[in-house]
Subunit: 163 residues, 2 copies
DNA sequence: CACTCACGGTTCAAATTTGAACTCAAGGTA
DNA sequence: TACCTTGAGTTCAAATTTGAACCGTGAGTG
């Protein structure tokens, strides 16, 4: 982009170093999910999103969560989640039933088959993550990455102010 | 996931430190694009993908690229790009014409209106990137991020081997 | 108790994305 | 020249995703 065409003149453009970083980060942001999707699809007929869903359920108490909680964890809209759960349900991996206490809540529950599915998918997925990411980083870099990524994610939670 | 349920026993699971890093990175991977999309949509009626397309064209020779080159740069399928260019064309931001030398190639060309569009969209987008990412990082961290992200992206280019 | 309101989810139509089939141009090859 | 093959894009149908409208359920209020 052309920085001199600016109107109010006070835009805080990225420095060259930041531009480099941004280009690299954007690459990761776009390509890494695609690469992982490919692996999951190939080896387990799963979407990355579906994997996140199953994975979240598998580590939850009773292997169950309400749709809302689950949606928040996997960063998806309720609508999207509803459709995906429907698909996973038809595949026998998940079951849905209204919460006994408050029937407004729907619990998504991992079935035995769903457990087996995620357990069988996990090793290859872990292998892929390791190959794509961690095999390329030193131990120090893993720490740096954690710090940096956490900081960025933090900044997005509380809906920072819009100028 | 449960690591003891493993069958062949030689899965290289992620260490706890790596799991932390992965969780944070996955968060960035999922949420950052969403946040940027929101800003672009709100301020300029543009998709992140469309922004990448316009941005790529704006920095290309003659502000033009063949569909194939463009698709590679923005990491999209030819099919997706074709549709998006059609949309941008209907909006008057891009023009398409067959290459004079080799009519198999289609050149996507940024129009004057397209140039104006990206120029007017860029400041707010840059501001958003800065706010979401760089305002939260030290100068050193920017360097670390560059190194790390580049290393990861590198590893995905040449279709690394599948186990 | 009747009413209304606010939630949590679901659903439906519209927009996107994907993947396969298809078109057309350019190189060989015979 | 006729024929085949490959490469670049487009298109069409099917799958996904999004956003808005909608349906029950539970809380508050009068």
């Amino acid at each position: 982009m052309d920085q001199s065409t600016e109107t109010p003149g006070d835009v805080r453009w990225l420095t060259p170093a930041e531009q480099d970083a941004w280009q690299a980060l954007a690459g990761v942001m776009i390509k890494l999910p695609a690469a992982l999707e490919t692996q999951l699809q190939r080896d387990s007929q799963l979407t990355l999103f579906e994997y996140f869903v199953l994975s979240a359920l598998s580590t939850a108490d009773c292997r169950a969560l309400s749709m809302g909680e689950l949606a928040a964890i996997v960063n998806g809209s309720l609508s999207r989640l509803s459709n995906v759960i429907k698909k996973l349900e038809s595949r026998g991996a998940v079951r849905r039933e209204p919460s006994p206490d408050n029937r407004r809540y729907t619990h998504a529950i991992l079935t035995e088959a769903g457990w087996d599915l995620i357990v069988s998918a996990a090793p290859k997925h872990a292998e892929a993550v390791r190959r794509q990411v961690f095999d390329r980083l030193t131990e120090d870099e893993v720490g740096e990455l954690t710090t940096i990524a956490r900081r960025i994610v933090r900044g997005m939670e509380p809906d920072a102010c819009w100028p």
